[in-house]
């Protein structure tokens, strides 16, 4: 995997998406103290590249994805920062103008694709929906295009006439992928693409995403708490904690030499069947309250390396190697953890 991915990421120098200082907060009303779900995030994705976003539940990774496709729930708001997609600022565009970008340029595979289908409409009708909304394929060719899409994700064309409850979980996930690539987007956001699937179907889905990416050359943002899946798919990985990206590196670098204590602990909590189960480690403590995050490093409370310095000031994201950044004052000690 490593040589091939390296080639790919150096070839694809053209930046597709660039996110600068993005902050997305949730609040019920003006008086409410906002939840800082995404708090000053920077990253970019090149055309054809896969960027993985990993972190535990509630760290803001799904919110980040929804911010990019501008489909935040009504309580959520992009309060700061910019999202540049193919050079165009889309983070602050009014809803009416965003509609052209949605799905046609940036599409999404939703968390739990099982529920992403309307139970009373055929799968085909729902895959046709983006084609119809964006009027990409002439009406009399849409039926054929749906069949083509289904074939691309290894589903029988007659699945188009079936209802969602007639499909298995894996089939539904593949149908969701077909729907996501319907308009040949430039960026595909996959939010937990393998959750709720058994391991064999997981592998199939991951291989399929990789194959489709090679065919269609879209950039991909994969969001998951499943580090193993992220490692397999991604060229580069961002580790998110408490609404911030705390470490970002090439997949293999991150695996071999993590420079943030959170990443190191996350890697050690991976379940490896060759290791006895009592050696699987968990991370003590709970993530910080994002209504009132601590002043210093957000991980300090759960970190064995934390010193007074960590509690006083926030460590900036600094370069520690080629394409490797981390936000930790003690990154040199991480290998000794």
């Amino acid at each position: 995997m490593s040589t091939q991915t390296q080639e790919r990421s150096t070839d694809a120098a053209e930046t597709l998406l660039s996110v600068r200082n993005l902050s997305t907060y949730y609040s019920e009303d003006e008086a409410d103290i906002p939840v800082r779900a995404v708090d000053g995030v920077d990253f970019e994705i090149a055309r054809g590249e896969t960027y993985g976003l990993v972190g535990e539940s509630g760290c803001g990774k799904s919110t980040l994805g929804l911010s990019l496709i501008r489909a935040l729930p009504p309580q959520g708001d992009i309060v700061e920062g910019e999202i540049r997609f193919e050079g165009r600022e889309i983070g602050q565009l009014p809803k009416s103008e965003v509609k052209d970008v949605q799905w046609a340029d940036i599409s999404m595979i939703y968390q739990g694709a099982q529920n992403a289908f309307n139970p009373v409409k055929t799968v085909g009708a729902q895959i046709r929906e983006p084609l119809r909304v964006h009027d990409i394929v002439p009406e009399d060719e849409r039926e054929g295009r749906v069949r083509e899409l289904l074939e691309k994700v290894n589903l029988q064309p007659d699945v188009a006439e079936q209802y969602p409850h007639e499909l298995s979980g894996g089939m539904k996930q593949r149908a969701a992928i077909a729907m996501a690539i319907a308009c040949e987007p430039d960026l595909l956001i996959a939010d937990e693409p393998t959750t709720a699937l058994d391991v064999i179907v997981q592998a199939e889905v991951l291989n399929m995403l990789q194959r489709l990416q090679e065919d269609l050359n879209f950039g991909m943002l994969v969001i998951s708490h499943n580090l193993a899946a992220i490692m397999k798919l991604s060229d580069r990985i961002g580790v998110m904690y408490g609404g911030k990206i705390v470490e970002s590196a090439r997949a293999e670098t991150l695996y071999d030499a993590p420079k943030h204590p959170y990443t190191a602990l996350l890697l050690r909590s991976l379940i490896d069947p060759r290791r006895p189960p009592d050696q699987v480690e968990t991370i003590e403590g709970t993530p910080p309250d994002l209504r009132d995050p601590p002043t210093g490093c957000r991980f300090a409370e759960r970190c064995a390396l934390a010193t007074q310095e960590c509690r006083d000031g926030e460590p900036p994201l600094e370069s520690v190697g080629e394409a490797h950044e981390t936000a930790c004052f003690h990154h040199e000690e991480v290998s000794e953890l």
Binding site: L66, I69, R70, A71, P73, P74, V98, K99, D100, V101, Q102, W103, A104, S107, M108, Y110, Q111, G112, N115, A116, F117, N118, P119, V120, K121, T122, G124, Q126, E129, P130, V133, H134, D140, E141, E143, G144, R147, A160, E161, H165, E166
Partner: protein
């Protein structure tokens, strides 16, 4: 393109298949069968009244005044010597007309108002909901009485006022159902797809709440039939036309009960109860058959 035609044909025959399966499930449901039979009978006698009525319903003196049931007059005659059975057969027309038309209009209005009320979050949704709640405050019966007294009591006026007054309750039910459907991921994903609000409401939300709309529509008809009877009974109905309610009004006015003319009241009263009952049966059967949780077992699955 041949594949397109094939699929189009395939999906329409599939839809027909589903409809046939639905019909079978509905008619094997005991309530559905009984309700359909009763309702069918009522509709039949109303439509075929000119053919099956033994006498002209408006003709005076076809028999002796207040004659008890006999072979000539199976359900006797009223105080003007008109045949009660003939009047009963014609009377169903107005009862059904008022019930069905205002039931349908009220349900349509309830859907058009209830779906956006549940779909739009924030200010728009709150405004519509407030409008619904305010409409609920009006006491329908009092308004019907006042309206009938001022605007006159033609059948279409009664239909208009019943429609205007009976949409808020189903609108609230439909709003509640929309709220829960709206939270589904498929609605969110259609939003992310760039679809317009109208499209999402029509394409994603409406098909999911249709069973609720149908069940409410049927209940609405029960309500409007009973309201029409009540309005008629109070003498506020269109007295120039025969309806079961106005028959009861005249019977009451001429003291039918104290003069022992029970036959004058028993048929229209029975008609009202039976019509309401058959609608309830049909509605309840529809609910059972269309409820997605029961659907799979009875007809949804292949």
């Amino acid at each position: 393109m041949s594949t397109t035609e094939e699929t189009a044909g395939g999906s329409s025959s599939r839809r027909f298949d589903r409809f046939r399966r639905f019909l079978r499930a509905f008619l094997t449901n005991r309530k559905g069968l009984l309700g359909t039979l009763l309702l069918g009978t009522i509709v039949f006698i109303s439509v075929a009244a000119p053919l099956i009525a033994p006498y002209d319903p408006e003709a005076y003196g076809v028999g002796k005044a207040l004659a008890p049931p006999s072979v000539e007059h199976l359900f006797g005659t009223d105080d003007l010597g008109r045949d009660v059975l003939s009047r009963f057969l014609y009377g169903g027309r107005i009862s059904l007309l008022v019930g069905v038309v205002s039931g349908v209009v009220a349900t349509l209005a309830a859907t058009l108002i209830g779906v956006p009320a549940g779909y739009y979050r924030g200010r728009v949704g709150r405004w519509i909901t407030t409008a619904i709640d305010m409409s609920l405050v009006f006491p329908p019966f009092v308004l019907v009485v006042v309206f009938a007294a001022y605007a006159g009591s033609s059948v279409w006026n009664i239909i208009l006022i019943l429609s205007l007054l009976s949409w808020p309750i189903p609108a609230r039910t439909i709003k509640a159902k929309t709220l829960s459907v709206r939270e589904n991921d498929f609605v969110e994903s259609t939003e992310a797809l760039g679809a317009s609000d109208f499209r999402i409401m029509r394409q994603e939300v409406l098909p999911n709440i249709l069973p609720v709309v149908f069940a409410n529509g049927i209940l609405q008809m029960v309500y409007t039939i009973l309201m029409e009877a009540a309005v008629g009974f109070l003498g506020l109905g269109d007295t120039a036309r025969i309806s079961w309610g106005t028959m009861l009004y005249f019977a009451q006015k001429q003291a039918a009960l104290s003069s022992g003319a029970w036959w004058w009241m028993i048929l229209p009263g029975f008609g009202i109860v039976l019509a309401a009952f058959s609608f309830i049966l049909v509605g309840s059967a529809l609910d059972e058959v269309l409820n997605p949780r029961l659907q799979r077992r009875t007809w949804g699955d292949d």
